[in-house]
Symmetry: C2
Subunit: 191 residues, 2 copies
């Protein structure tokens, strides 16, 4: 006596929610927005996800996971140094993305003052990302592409900070983000 199955594709809904939250932020996205875009009535929404925050958490997790996967795939194709040099250009040229700025950074900035759990999660995910960068810097150093006196963790911290600034700047119409991206890549060549 198996009952009916849901009509929606849960994974696709999470991806769609991620895009909405990414663009509009946490407070900027109402349940009505989500119900309209995901085509879910309130009852179905809460049966599927439990709460707005629970869906946001899933969306954040998905966002970070895909970011890490893209970076690792890039490093497999180009090698660590070239991946680090290409990443700045790629993140601001991603045409399908709902926003240039980093969703983790936007979430962190918006919710830190409220001591919201999602800010903590966003911070943890940024740390994971930083660790990925550090790995790549370490590999590039072991390959002899980066001088041995540099600390990979410090390089990763600075690099991530630069990327956050770049991606926020890329939202501005009076800034040529490609120039910034090129300058960040050039900095890596000088290490």
């Amino acid at each position: 006596m198996m009952p009916r199955k849901p009509e929606y594709d849960r994974d696709a809904l999470i991806a769609q929610a991620r895009d909405i939250f990414w663009r509009q932020g946490w407070a900027g996205t109402s349940l009505k927005d989500l119900e309209r875009e995901l085509k879910l009535k309130p009852g179905s929404f809460y049966a599927a996800f439990g709460s707005k925050d629970a869906l946001y958490a899933l969306a954040l997790e998905r966002y970070a996971q895909e970011g890490v996967m893209r970076l690792k795939a890039l490093a497999d194709r180009l090698g660590p140094l070239e991946a680090l040099k290409a990443q700045p250009r790629l993140v601001i040229e991603a045409s399908g993305a709902p926003a240039k700025a980093c969703m983790l950074a936007k979430t962190y900035a918006e919710l830190l003052a409220r001591d919201h759990e999602l800010a903590g999660q966003a911070g943890d995910l940024m740390s994971e990302m930083k660790a990925c960068f550090a790995d790549l810097f370490r590999q590039a150093q072991e390959a002899g592409d980066i001088a041995p006196e540099h600390d990979p963790n410090r390089l990763a911290t600075r690099y991530q900070s630069d990327l956050l600034g770049l991606r926020l700047s890329a939202e501005r119409s009076d800034v040529d983000a490609r120039e910034i991206a090129a300058d960040i890549a050039a900095d890596i060549d000088r290490l």
Copy 2:
């Protein structure tokens, strides 16, 4: 037949509102928050400022104006190059500030997707700030402290982007922002 005068100090209230908005953001600050902190009942609040957005606009204006003034005062004391090198450390070490991240950037990121007027204002003020940075780079170049092949406007764009990233990173507990600040300053010495 002159009537009574208001009991509040309008300038002090704007500065106080700026700190609250800076820390909590636009959506994160309710009228109840403002009424409680500024000790104004709703009627007085609306008589004094007109709306929440109008007060936010005044707070943004004040924030940017004081930022420009502090930078120019710094340049008068240290000269353009040393001012640009000192600024990163100063912005993250300002102990009285309600937040490390830039209020203009937070406002821009939060309200851009809503096409809110305040996002436009924040963007304009960031452009003004960028022009100040460009002036200092130009002066440093004319003084011979920066090689002549560099474009001051491009340097200013990159510098502002770096500062935005630095100030957001400074909110994180797992990041040593002083290291980033030192690295940004070191980059200027290499120009």
